[in-house]
């Protein structure tokens, strides 16, 4: 995918000089995040270890660049170690809701009629309730674990995907290539999987990235409210709720994870934006 990105960027154009900067910055940020998510626990194996003797050190203390929290955990180490639990769950959410959305969206868009009607009403139901509200009530009451919260979010995110894919399919279905495929009496599944899916790819990709950014925000919001992540786990949302209590003695304890969440979500959003703009340009040519 990276090679693909770089070749698209190389295309000449008025804005070509600006876009690589945005794209490269996003990719560097996401690369660093990926590295921290994969190897964070190896870099700082004792990040979550409590050390009360060194609690609430201000930023700039020797050996603790951003200081420590009320349990004496180093903020830098905790943030790096928390990358995995902050970013991997949402990745599963975005992937899972994309799969559900593609499957049901294809069904609804291709056959329309009754299937479509039922699915649309079901999506109405879930769209009527805010994600955070649903998350807090359902995951909170049932005391959901990290992975159950992930599953809940997949279900909550899927309706939006279904709508997007459905609309994309409805737009494609009237095109000549689909009609030819139908004339050739190809099976509906073959048309959907071999023909429609390829043309839905740009839509899916953009939507996946937007969902990923949203899932990062939603999941850290739930962690901030104490849902989904156990106390003591390294997680940016959890760091925020713990750090807020010592905001005035070590602001870095909560500001650092807050900035990290914003930066990563921004990078994902801008990446979606840049890829989308490239698609538009390609389509315009």
């Amino acid at each position: 995918m990276t090679a693909d990105l770089l070749t698209t960027v190389a295309a000449p154009g008025v804005r070509a000089r600006r876009r690589p900067v945005t794209l490269v910055t996003c990719l560097v940020i996401l690369g660093l995040a990926l590295f921290a998510a994969l190897f964070g626990h190896l870099l700082y194996p004792s990040a979550t270890q409590v050390n009360v003797l060194q609690a609430q050190l201000p930023p700039g203390s020797p050996g603790h660049l951003l200081g420590t929290d009320q349990l004496g955990r180093d903020i830098v180490a905790l943030s790096v170690a928390g990358t995995a639990s902050t970013l991997i769950g949402p990745l599963v959410v975005a992937g899972g809701s994309m799969l559900l959305g593609t499957f049901f969206g294809l069904l609804a868009g291709f056959w329309q009629g009754k299937t479509d009607f039922l699915l649309s009403r079901l999506t109405d139901l879930l769209l009527a309730l805010p994600v955070v509200l649903l998350g807090v009530v359902v995951a909170g009451i049932f005391g959901a674990s990290y992975w159950w919260t992930t599953v809940l979010l997949i279900v909550v995110f899927a309706p939006y995907d279904i709508r997007i894919v459905r609309a994309g399919v409805i737009e494609q279905v009237t095109k000549p290539y689909v009609e030819s495929a139908r004339l050739l009496r190809l099976s509906p599944w073959r048309i959907m999987l071999r023909h429609l899916l390829v043309n839905l790819w740009p839509l899916e990709r953009t939507n996946f990235l937007l969902n990923y950014a949203n899932a990062i925000i939603a999941m850290s919001a739930l962690s901030f409210l104490g849902v989904g992540v156990q106390q003591g786990t390294a997680n940016w949302g959890r760091q925020l709720i713990d750090g807020e209590q010592i905001l005035f003695s070590n602001p870095a304890a909560s500001i650092a994870p807050a900035v990290l969440i914003i930066v990563v979500a921004c990078a994902v959003n801008l990446l979606a934006d840049a890829l989308n703009a490239d698609d538009r340009k390609a389509a315009g040519r």
Binding site: R15, R121, D124, L125, L127, A128, L129, P130, V131, V132, L133, G135, V136, V137, G140, I141, F142, G143, F157, Y160, R163, I164, A167, G168, I170, E171, T206, N207, L210, A213, N214, I217, A218, S220, A221, L222, F224, L225, G226, L240, G243, E244, L247, F248, P251, S254, I255, P257, A258, V259, I261, I262, A265, C266, N269, L270, D273, N276, D279, R280
Partner: protein
Amino acid sequence: MGGGHLPDGGLTEVTAPADVASPALAMPVRGRSTASAVARLIAWRVTGAVVLLAVISVLVFLLTYLSPGNIIKNITGIRPVSPHIVAELRAEYGLNQPLAVQYLHWLGRFVTGNFGRSIEDQTSVSQLFSERVGVTLLLCGMAFALAVVVSIPLGVLAAVRVGGLLDRLISVTSVIGLSAPAFAVGLILLYVFSYFLPIFPSSGSGQGLADTVYHLTLPAVTLAVGVGAYIVRLTRTAMTRELRSDYVTFARARGLGSQRIMWTALRNGIIPVITTMGLVLSFMVGSTILVETTFTLPGLGMLLQSSVEYKDFAVVQFLTLFFATIIVLVMLAVDLSYLVLSPEWRWQLRR
């Protein structure tokens, strides 16, 4: 998107099809007669909203039953209870009857305004609600006003010169706003404006109107960031489309004043902004929980959060149903507002 789920207006410019934002247009409207088509459309939408609310109410009712643990425990909380009280509670809540009957009783109590008592402090839910609703209402109102007043002009400014420096600046800022969860923004603002530069208080909701508004300023700004960023993108996309359309080119060619052209374009461009208000509201309800928790404001969001923590079912059920009802009603109103807003419909109705 501070925890809500908003389609990112401008980002999905090409991909988001019209029907995501305008469910009413996908309505089955048959027949030639406009009046009966309108009547059918209204009936269809109202029925849909009622069914939706009914389903949500069943789910909310089932919350107590599906939640882990004993139902009596869920009602009484952590206090110790004697078998005598258990029997009394079973009778009071009709726990020996079939589930459907229990649901109808529960719904009946709800509709007649008996929302039960909080197990936390034994006050009635309606009293708790009336104590807390003011803060949330004022917070959301201030945030919404702020977002609209700032964002719509910014969106229009960006659309006037698409690709210009100002547009790029506004667009990047709005991406940051969309990517920043309410609690993260809140914490940063809290640190900057109540510690670093101690202008605003860090918590509480104040006494009297002026003081309350003063206390709610920082939370309202926090809440407005996400909503505002969304409205900026939406306005920008809609206005760009309008300004590129044939009627604007034609008006320019005919030498109409640019102010007049802008006004007409804005009137048409604002429609998609208004028709996504249901989503904006849904977003605000989600975010108000986060903002109230961040700033320790005694509003409905914090009440919901704490009652979930204490498994205070009566309160959780009431608040969930309350928020869902408001959102469904606003979405219904938005759907019906097509009749007033869409020039096509307006034109047909006038005949």
